[in-house]
Symmetry: C2
Subunit: 231 residues, 2 copies
DNA sequence: ATAATAAACTGATCCAGATCAGGTTTTTTG
DNA sequence: CAAAAAACCTGATCTGGATCAGTTTATTAT
């Protein structure tokens, strides 16, 4: 048995939220009556770190980055995809401002849920509260892996990690059109865009990936995996 | 108003847990009947990443590091001090193994709480469940700051961060006996121990700190703070 | 369709901090 | 209390990846 845990810089949680199924019909109706769906265009800002939270958001469709920044540098905490929450820390009444910003990578549909109603449901329905605890725990565990990756792996490993994450978990196929710029990849893997470009070129030369403009394909999954694990 | 959030590599949450106060007398009795207190000596391992969780742990007294490792490198996620939980992610039934290891910095007393009883209380008592959600949210928010710090600050800033955290939040005084080795400080600030030694020397020369063996004192709080914010 | 702007790419240079290779002091242990 | 083992410290060297300074290729807007 291999008891060494593998940490990846993977940005996305595979867990899709089944927490709405837990609610009673009345509770779900209450939630629906206090929700509204909003469309964001590519690159639009969904929420701003530090701003007051009036809603908990649920990503219905699309892809967004969740990040923090100090005005100069930014750090992508995770990618939010279909079926994940944004601003969930606000269930806790201690947090009434967004702890991070979010921005759409592609056109994205967000369901805004009134936070007081959401909190009320957490109070009323223990199963629902438990589901929220599950999500918060999973998010923590995932961020630990990403944290480890960005602080202890070398650039090649970090980039390989992100590429595998996109292929395995976001697009769920080995070939896809990359909606992210080189700069986006750089932010995700914590390096400069110049370095990303050089390393993508190297991966291409070594026949690990195929990359023509935005068309991306994983050619040698196992070698890429090996790079992601060894650094 | 300064809307730029400051991120520190601070390793410790100031929040002390009042969640036991929420319980009814009967619930607290149930908890007490299913708890046991254990003493750990300095450097003893409290829990091992990957191992099965039978208990949720509450640090009654002492100081411990919470970290993940892959066999070669390790990353300190946080310092656990009095009144904080270890292995709390296990409230979620999805996580039956420890997501991290913990090791005592000093002699430490841990209260082990049966996880099934703990889960039962989360089910029974919504206020308790909410308190747990609060703790999980706070932990996430804190780890974001530390993540940002370790990935985007330079070594001087990271070290200043840790020193201020120890002074402000762990020991709560400007002068104290440092129970951590240079290597421990290095692990906390994500650098080599040689670099820590050189930088401590520099801080000393610049009259920012006083450091004689294990006796540590902050001499110039505001300049150290400035380094932590800009460096 | 064309100008303006942003993204992609390339090569040259530089540096923060790791690593290595010692020596010294403190702590632990038999 | 001496020996062994950690922890601490110092200087020299090395390097991964950032930064800078461009050119070229795509987008976007007019």
């Amino acid at each position: 048995m291999d008891n060494k845990l593998k940490f990846t810089g993977c940005t996305i949680s595979t867990r899709s939220c089944k927490c709405f199924d837990i609610l009673t019909d009345a509770q779900r109706k209450l939630l629906d009556d206090n929700s509204v769906n909003i469309q964001y265009k590519k690159k639009e800002v969904i929420c701003k770190q530090g701003g007051f939270v009036s809603h908990i958001m649920y990503l219905e469709k699309g892809l967004a980055k969740v990040f923090i920044d100090n005005g100069e540098n930014s750090l992508v905490l995770r990618i939010s995809s279909e079926g994940t929450f944004l601003g969930l820390a606000t269930v806790s009444e201690e947090h009434n401002t967004y702890q991070y910003s979010a921005q759409a990578y592609v056109d994205t549909e967000i369901r805004q849920i009134d936070v007081t109603v959401f909190r009320q449901l957490v109070n009323e329905n223990t199963e629902f509260a438990k589901a929220i605890i599950d999500i918060l725990s999973s998010n923590s565990v995932q961020i630990y892996g990403r944290f480890f990756c960005l602080t202890h792996k070398q650039a090649y490993g970090r980039l390989a990690d992100i590429l595998l994450c996109l292929s395995d978990r976001v697009f769920k196929q080995s070939e896809f059109e990359l909606p992210l710029s080189r700069k986006d990849l750089a932010d995700l893997s914590g390096m400069s865009s110049e370095t990303v470009i050089r390393m993508l070129k190297k991966f291409h030369e070594d026949a690990l990936i195929d990359l023509d403009g935005k068309n991306f394909k994983v050619l040698d999954y196992s070698r890429l995996k090996h790079i992601s694990e060894t650094g």
